[in-house]
């Protein structure tokens, strides 16, 4: 697994020129959208004004609201100043190119309530902010967690994955060894949390529209206590018309890096337990965030607008996946996750702003790992790296893919309560060989599985539900009969364990003698499961996925792919 730090200056290529062109195009479009939003905003403002005139009784509360808004503006201004102050500190860092979105405000950020608040229309920070925002990149600030137990772990677990992705210039991705282990970092040397997370929730709102359209945006929030990171990634946001595996083409928005340019879903991330992880997002086309679904950092790093902030310029998310302990059901983050934008979430996630995230376990001396294998969690079963795969049910309502960033937030009925998918997809494939390149949709057409009882470890199948509807997964043999060959081992990044004896180790279900064997798995939006496949004999099996209506439960679509067991 190699993850790149982005060096924006070292590649003068066609791609660079394209990027510049795209940027200009984006600016034009943003300007158009901004004007359109302005028109809409004015219209809705008129409506609101009309209503307000009839609200003499509301006047008192209105005044209170203004007072709070003023407080809030002052607070936000103080906050921004604080952020600027904090940002100045690590100024020795190399500078990044300025984002186009930082200067031209995309339409979405123009809020209908903005004009009722005099100062809100101008973002003071836009003019005074230092032109060079430091980008903590792997080359300068990232480091492996030194030669401790973690390093041992990475050699066994992470390095074994790398060969399968050979041919990529992975040298830049390898963390240097300059910084100390994160645990010893001195808080006093780092920008401290002089103020806590800016709580939008400590403010009050007059209406749902006010709340929806007035989320706190911060230009370049600062990462508190920035540590040396074992892995750093940089994500841009892109928008592209992409062709899906049924030939249909939709405008998709997603995250990209240099390996998976303008693709969908977002780049695959693999991080190891116990090591500090950085991901810097560079939003465009309006504010975005990244929520690391199932990961549990502090609120600033949780990526939710209304409990922290939405990001305009850039932000480096920081977290340290908790290390597992054998037999202990209270610890360990290893498992399958996904990340997604948490701004106008129904729309942005449907547009494609998500990607897979896998947390690999630390390696414990009592649970060594065979060549070509990994463990699913610290004391979990070994699986075969070669055939490890991921699939994600997803579906598209074409109507939604005509929408804009902030649709619905101003109180307009965008119909976002009506999700009526017409196209149904299985995303994913074998993790060791996700095709890199531009504008690729990672689609699943077949799977391989190792026959039980052979020399190879079993195949691990990870699934992320990227859907808004319930799904049923059914595994059958070649005749269509259900085949109970899947063993569920984890759910939502946590192993299934036997926890029946207080104070005693909790073995995995397999080790306790009751493996969770099944031919069926029912799950829904945002759930993840990890399963080992144990086909008893070589030959063809099938993985069938049904999409069900979220009210009636009726099956509305089905896709089936072959599993070839060898």
């Amino acid at each position: 697994m190699s993850i790149f730090s982005r060096k924006r200056t070292d590649r003068r290529s066609i791609r660079g020129i394209e990027r510049a062109q795209e940027r200009d195009e984006r600016r034009r479009r943003d300007e158009e959208r901004r004007r359109e939003a302005e028109r809409r905003r004015e219209a809705s403002e008129r409506r609101r004004e009309d209503r307000r005139r009839r609200e003499a009784a509301e006047r008192r509360r209105e005044e209170e609201r203004r007072r709070e808004a003023a407080d809030r503006r002052r607070e936000e201004e103080r906050r921004r100043e604080e952020e600027r102050r904090r940002r100045r500190r690590p100024s020795a860092k190399p500078s990044a190119t300025t984002k186009p979105s930082a200067t031209t405000k995309p339409s979405a950020t123009t809020k209908p309530s903005a004009t009722t608040k005099p100062s809100a229309t101008t973002k003071p920070s836009a003019t005074t902010k230092p032109s060079a925002s430091p980008t903590p990149s792997a080359t300068s600030s990232s480091a492996s967690a030194s030669a401790t137990a973690t390093a041992t772990a990475s050699e066994t677990a992470t390095a074994s994955a790398t060969p399968s992705e050979s041919g990529t210039p992975s040298t830049t991705a390898e963390p240097s060894t300059t910084a100390e282990p994160s645990a010893t970092a001195e808080p006093t040397e780092q920008p401290g949390p002089v103020v806590g997370p800016e709580p939008t929730l400590s403010h009050r709102f007059q209406s749902q529209v006010d709340f929806s359209s007035d989320q706190l945006e911060v230009e370049d929030p600062v990462t508190e206590f920035l540590q040396a990171a074992a892995i750093s990634v940089e994500f841009d946001v892109h928008s592209r018309d992409l062709v899906m595996d049924d030939g249909a083409e939709f405008e998709m928005w997603s995250f990209e890096d240099e390996r998976y340019e303008r693709g969908f879903p977002g780049p695959t991330l693999r991080v190891q337990e116990g090591r500090v992880f950085h991901a810097t997002v560079h939003p465009s086309k309006g504010p975005h965030t990244i929520h690391w679904h199932g990961m549990e950092p502090d609120p600033r790093n949780d990526g939710v607008g209304h409990t922290s902030f939405e990001v305009d310029g850039q932000y480096t998310y920081q977290m340290q996946p908790e290390a597992g302990r054998p037999g202990d059901p209270n610890y360990g983050a290893a498992g399958t996750y996904f990340y997604h934008c948490h701004v106008n979430t129904p729309l942005h996630v449907q547009m494609g702003m998500f990607g897979p995230l896998v947390i690999d376990p630390v390696v414990h001396p009592d649970y060594p790992v065979s060549p070509g294998a990994r463990r699913a969690f610290v004391d979990g079963p070994e699986y075969d790296i070669e055939t490890e795969a991921l699939f994600a049910p997803y579906c598209v309502d074409p109507r939604w893919h005509e929408m804009n960033h902030a649709d619905g937030l101003s109180g307009d009925d965008a119909g976002l309560n009506r999700f009526e998918p017409r196209h149904f997809y299985l995303l994913g494939g074998e993790l060791a060989r996700r095709p890199a390149g531009r504008e690729r949709v990672w689609s699943l057409s077949s799977l391989r599985a190792n026959v039980a009882g052979g020399t190879r470890k079993p195949t691990l199948l990870r699934t992320v539900n990227a859907n808004y509807l319930p799904n049923m997964v059914t595994i059958t043999d070649a005749t269509g009969a259900e085949a109970k060959i899947a063993e569920l081992i984890s759910h939502d990044g946590r192993p299934f364990r036997d926890t029946s004896v207080p104070g005693a180790p909790s073995p995995s279900c397999q080790d306790s003698g009751y493996p969770l064997m099944t031919s069926r798995l029912a799950y829904g939006a945002a759930e993840r499961y990890d399963m080992l496949l144990h086909p008893p004999t070589p030959g063809r099996y099938y993985l069938r996925v049904d999409w069900e209506d979220w009210i009636t439960g009726a099956v509305i679509a089905t896709r089936t792919i072959p599993i070839d067991a060898t």
Partner: protein, 462 residues
């Protein structure tokens, strides 16, 4: 892309006075409202309130208009605590929380146990700081009462539940308590004719969570609001799900619902919705009757905010926890455990309850305790085993019991955790994302809440 409402449910001037009368502030509230219902006017007289009987809980099947999170009024029916009519500006469409004690008393109360201390703003205060674990606290065991939302009946094991239901509407209605019968079957009044009264007496079922609702023309009457929740507690084990089951610091009852305003307007105008031909397209999504910023307690109405914090917005102080056993802590009087959340879905949408900040530990579904060993996958493809989840499936009519640990978020780095001075607030929301909207947009205006990991406690010695 705006959803077109059929002409008969557009706002009508003759009903605008309703908004004003309801003290809702606006003369021009968007009002989803039918043309004048013809058969309705003929129905007189409206029956009077029932004379109270000791030990009997009176329920009134009422109709009226409820204000949605965007100030739209939507027609509802409901099980109320007092008789009100359709044009009442403050209709009683949900029952006030009531405790039925083992000794047979019917006590209006938002909190249970009745004699336990009520947690300030819903937050149980800790016993004291846990010196060995910086930033964490010892939790009081068997100490704090819990607040319950509207629509709740809390019955103590050993009681006889005696309901008297008056149907004040023009069509027959029924009250059915699902799964509360001696064999796990349903208990029902049968059809209650308009303007008449029925009684339903039954021995309290085993500890757990039960839905009661009107099954008429299912799910239409339920969608219109005719539902509630019965929570059964063992008075000998007031901080346990049941004897020998998970113990908790305090409990929360979360009732999810989806409002179908088109169905509501059809029924209000005297039509009967056929759910097979008029497909449900819910427009509002509620948790304990509130959506969006109201469900997050950030309105200008202090009373609403307080009630929301007490009933819905989970909060607590960080503590040590071991999911292998929720019970006595390291020292007497302390709890090694989290808080119980009863997730209940009388609505029609398949919800996916997602918690940020902490995984939750699921212990029970629909009255069946999940085992801790010898787990299995049932024929529906669901794992039956106590487990961690960050998304909890909540099918229609499902009840799930989960323990939220209220512990240090595991993936926060040490320096950030140790420097923490403020509350940390984490969202809870349904991940079937269309439920995050109100009136087709206004994210996050739907089924949302949050939970608070309380900051360092000034009262506790470090």
């Amino acid at each position: 892309m705006a959803e077109q409402l059929p002409p008969e449910i557009l706002a009508r001037g003759d009903l605008l006075k309703l908004g004003a009368a309801a003290g809702l502030g606006f003369a021009a509230l968007p009002l989803i409202q039918p043309s004048a219902p013809s058969q309705r006017a003929a129905r007189t007289p409206i029956p009077l309130a029932l004379a109270a009987l000791p030990g009997v809980l009176d329920v009134y099947i009422n109709e009226g208009y409820l204000k949605m999170v965007d100030d739209t009024l939507v027609y509802h029916r409901g099980f109320g605590s007092r008789p009100t009519d359709v044009d009442d500006p403050d209709p009683s469409l949900t029952m006030d929380p009531t405790v039925i004690t083992a000794t047979g008393d019917v006590v209006p109360s938002r909190t249970y146990p009745l004699d336990a201390a009520v947690p300030p703003r819903g937050t149980p205060e800790p016993l004291r700081a846990d010196e060995a674990n910086p930033g964490q606290y010892f939790i009081r065991r068997n100490y704090w009462a819990s607040y319950f939302p509207q629509r709740t009946i809390i019955a103590e094991l050993g009681s006889e539940i005696r309901l008297r239901i008056q149907n004040r509407l023009s069509k027959p209605h029924t009250l059915t308590v699902f799964g509360a019968g001696p064999d796990g079957g349903d208990l029902t009044t049968g059809a209650i004719a308009p303007d008449s009264v029925a009684t339903l007496d039954f021995p309290c079922p085993p500890p757990g969570t039960y839905i009661f609702a009107d099954p008429t023309n299912a799910p239409v009457e339920r969608v219109l609001g005719l539902f509630g929740v019965l929570v059964v507690m063992d008075p000998e084990h007031q901080w346990d799900i049941a004897e020998d089951r998970a113990t908790f610091e305090r409990q929360w009852l979360w009732i999810t619902h989806a409002v179908e305003s088109r169905w509501a307007s059809m029924e209000a105008s005297g039509q009967t919705v056929n759910p097979a031909t008029t497909r449900a397209v819910p427009r509002y999504f509620t948790l304990n009757g509130r959506s969006g910023f109201e469900s997050l307690g950030i309105t200008f109405d202090d009373a609403v905010n307080l009630a929301t914090e007490e009933e819905t917005l989970i909060s607590g102080y960080p503590r040590q926890l071991d999911v292998r056993q929720f019970g006595e802590g390291a020292e007497a009087g302390t709890l090694r455990g989290g808080q119980l959340v009863r997730l209940v879905n009388p609505g029609i949408v398949f919800h996916q309850m997602h918690f940020h900040g902490n995984h939750v530990w699921t212990v029970r579904r629909n009255g069946v305790d999940w085992p801790r060993h010898e787990g299995y996958v049932d024929s529906d493809g669901h794992v039956v085993l106590q487990q961690w989840e960050d998304v909890v499936e909540l099918e229609t009519m499902d009840r799930k019991d989960i323990i939220i640990p209220i512990k240090r978020p595991p993936d926060a780095i040490d320096p950030v955790w140790f420097a923490r001075t403020t509350d940390w607030v984490y969202p809870m929301h349904c991940h079937a994302e269309p439920s995050q909207t109100a009136a087709g947009g206004m994210y996050p205006g739907g089924l949302v809440a949050h939970w608070t990991l309380k900051g360092p406690n000034p009262g506790a010695t470090p």
